[in-house]
């Protein structure tokens, strides 16, 4: 909040506001576009699905089945929605290696966003599911950070830790760190509940709730987050603090004690 108001007087602020306004109107126009336009959209939509299907049969079908019905190697994708695809492929979790550990982890994404959109469109066509959220849904602007904090502690911190540093689950599974995760992916993860994460659908965690949570995380766990007291030691709490106290605290004091108690250099015997 404070930062925002401070930057309001920046010379480029007007430009930014103008751009935002343009993007906003564009988005609004696209969303509210009249029906005649939808006709044209439908054809391009079916083209997209067609493209997506091609990508799907190359990258996904071996595990999820040719029609997304699932197999012993991968769950059914019917009804998971575009948001699930955008999350899984966008964070590089999918396609997964055939032999994997306790859970599929984030890795480098090999698809372009356009390809992901095509894949998502195809999977969405298999059965209705959550849509990919728009920027004004997941963007931190307008979020109630304090409410987001409370929601985060109620719904998320038990697995992802106070500030989203991540934590352990059973049998080698874990809740990943949320640092540097794209807000869009956070939103999608809450919507769709990837892997062992439960979902938090809009019916129980509203769109505004999700925005608040993202706003809170943006405030407490981003590269600009202030840790007033200094080095935050990974945000892991007393374990890392204890290790630090032993190694650097007591360690430094013992080094000092060695100096205090050591004999002073003697003059060389001639």
């Amino acid at each position: 909040m404070k930062k925002l108001s401070a930057r309001r007087r920046h010379p480029l602020a007007a430009v930014v506001v103008l751009l935002l306004a343009l993007v906003g109107t564009g988005g609004a126009y696209a969303a509210l576009a009249p029906a005649s336009k939808a006709q044209a959209d439908e054809t391009s939509q079916s083209l997209t699905i067609e493209e997506g299907k091609k990508l799907y049969s190359v990258g996904c079908a071996s595990c999820h089945g040719t029609g997304g019905q699932g197999s012993s190697d991968g769950p059914s994708l019917v009804g998971v929605g575009a948001a699930a695809v955008d999350f899984q492929v966008g964070t590089g979790r999918m396609p997964a290696a055939t032999s994997q550990g306790p859970q599929v982890v984030k890795k480098k994404n090999i698809y372009t966003q356009a390809q992901i959109d095509q894949l998502a469109a195809y999977v969405a066509s298999l059965g209705a599911g959550p849509q990919v959220p728009t920027k004004d849904q997941y963007g931190p602007d307008g979020a109630d950070i304090a409410k987001g904090g409370e929601l985060f502690r109620t719904n998320c911190a038990q697995c992802h830790n106070f500030v989203g540093a991540g934590g352990a689950l059973t049998k080698g599974k874990f809740a990943p760190s949320l640092e540097g995760v794209d807000p869009k992916h956070m939103y999608e993860a809450m919507q769709t509940g990837p892997q062992n994460m439960p979902s938090f659908p809009d019916t129980t965690l509203t769109e505004k709730n999700k925005k608040d949570i993202i706003g809170y995380l943006n405030a407490v766990n981003s590269s600009n987050t202030e840790n007033p007291g200094g080095l935050n030691l990974g945000g892991l709490g007393p374990v890392s603090e204890g290790l630090f106290a032993w190694i650097f605290g007591l360690g430094a004091l013992i080094a000092v004690a060695v100096w205090v108690a050591a004999r002073t250099a003697k003059a060389k015997k001639s």
Partner: protein, 354 residues
Amino acid sequence: MSSQDIPEENLPAEQDHAHAHTAVSVADEKDPFSDPGLPPHEHRIQDIDERAAKRSERVVAMLFTVSMLATVGFIASYVTIPKDKSIFVFPIGHISALNFALGLTLGAALFCIGAGAVHWARTLMSDVEVADERHAISAPPEVKAKVLADFKQGAKESALGRRKLIRNTMFGALTLVPLSGVVLLRDLGPLPGTSLRHTAWSKGKLLVNMNTNEPLRPSDVAVGSLTFAKPEGVEESQEDFQNVMAKAALMIIRLQPDNIKDKRELEWSHEGIVAYSKICTHVGCPISLYEQQTHHVLCPCHQSTFDLSDGARVIFGPAGHALPQLRIGVSEEGYLQALGDFEEPVGPAFWERG
């Protein structure tokens, strides 16, 4: 070595040398392991070179001066740096400028005093090792005898051993008197009674979503989702909110009914929606690390693991019994409601739990 330019107060006393050397030659031939006595004192550079001593003096004075400057810096930081100013310090990150400046100046001011004093002691004060005799701790026999005699005399004069009535009543009185203090502790808290067995849930109470503060409908709860609920009518602003939630916190999930292995769990569920106490049966942490594919829920405090598809039975960790399930149904308006309180006490086990 030349002792001409050694300052007088730094010269070791001569007898120390003598003392150190005498022991050496005494037992040498007979017992090669015998104590050769303190080795002779060797001078430091500062003892024999006045310039080195001056250098040390300057270092000490410099350290004390740095300390003074650091204190000035501390006060200056306190006065000038706004408390909400944030700076970026590599590699620490964005931190409070005030905390950083105050801490470093205070640290420097203190450390330099210490370093100065120690450097002074190490380089300029005498470093001759001195031996101090130890004295026996136990008293000599005559002292012991005197004390014992005195004690006997005193005991005899008190006649404590002879006048048994006095002795016994005195011990009785002294034993009883602390009881008043113990009794006074009674009002520290109420007696437990059966309060650990009940929660704020009762028949007909709606399940209210913690996030939205709205009652939940069955259609709100999707398979694989996780929702937390409180009893209707409980608000955070209420005085007893914390106490109520410490027992009533609820975790709601939805399973495919054919995935539910436990018969009672199925009976107490509504269309696969099951409600379990969020309070771990081990020591009471709000357990809620729900894995939607395995249906396991893990406690973040001590890793007790429960299988929510099988009556929340314990499958790992230190918890001793399953999570209590709340029997739920649907109200006339179509909201999820409790069909009664938990049938067993929630949270950690206790002696009277049974």
